[in-house]
């Protein structure tokens, strides 16, 4: 089981598609940095195939003014939660 990190907005980069294609059925995806723009409707629809396994980093949402805009389907974690996700998964793969 792996944790994938994505730091690009789905609105400007195609890399999220490769990240999704590389994910196994129990893998997690954590949106960080500019990736968190993808946690907001309507862009979050690009992640409908991984409902329940999509996370976004609270600090990056907050700094971008997105905390109240984040879709309900996204699980928001702070950096401590990010570390926890790396504990629970075997390996981290970064997409940029």
């Amino acid at each position: 089981m792996q944790l994938h990190l994505l730091n690009r907005s789905v609105a400007s980069s195609h890399v999220y598609r490769d990240a999704l294609r590389a994910m196994s059925d129990d893998d997690y995806l954590l949106l960080i940095e500019d990736g968190v723009y993808g946690a907001v409707a309507p862009l979050v629809e690009h992640f409908s195939s991984i409902a329940g396994r999509l996370f976004a980093l609270r600090e990056d949402l907050e700094s971008r003014g997105l905390e109240g805009r984040c879709a309900e389907s996204v699980i928001v974690v702070d950096t401590e939660g990010f570390v926890q996700l790396t504990e629970e998964t075997e390996r981290t793969v970064s997409w940029f």
Partner: protein, 130 residues
């Protein structure tokens, strides 16, 4: 657990270094050990000795050095990536007939082999890229 970080983004150009430092602090707070940070690609600019950020901005190079002093974290800089980008230590400088050095204290130039080894010997490797 024993963590290694791979940092590939230049400081002050991309958020990679900020994110990595914040992650570093959180993993230490959770009782883990940050043994190694490996700087590759533009990440090697994090070891730039003369970085002079504005007073109201975080000094990222000093933040790495604090990790080294307080946690014993090894700050490893890929020598091939660093040399061509002009981040070099006194020894490399002399070897290439140059004057002065640009590698900040507490960072050390090393080969990519150390990254492979870090990946093999640590429990976790997390990459922060531009």
């Amino acid at each position: 657990m024993r963590y290694a970080l791979l940092v590939q983004g230049a400081p002050y150009s991309h958020q990679a270094a900020h994110s990595a430092l914040r992650f570093a602090s959180a993993l230490i707070d959770r009782g883990h050990r940050l043994e190694t940070v490996f700087f590759y690609h533009d990440g090697i600019y994090n070891a730039q000795r003369l970085a002079t950020p504005p007073q109201d901005e975080p000094h990222l190079i000093e933040a790495w050095q604090r990790l080294h002093h307080e946690q014993g974290t090894a700050l490893l800089v890929c020598v091939a990536a660093a040399l061509k980008r002009g981040v070099i230590d006194e020894r490399e400088s002399q070897r290439h007939g140059k004057q002065g050095h640009s590698l900040a204290a507490s960072f050390e130039l090393t080969g990519v082999g150390q990254l492979i080894e870090a990946a093999m010997t640590h429990d976790r490797l997390v990459t922060f890229s531009p």
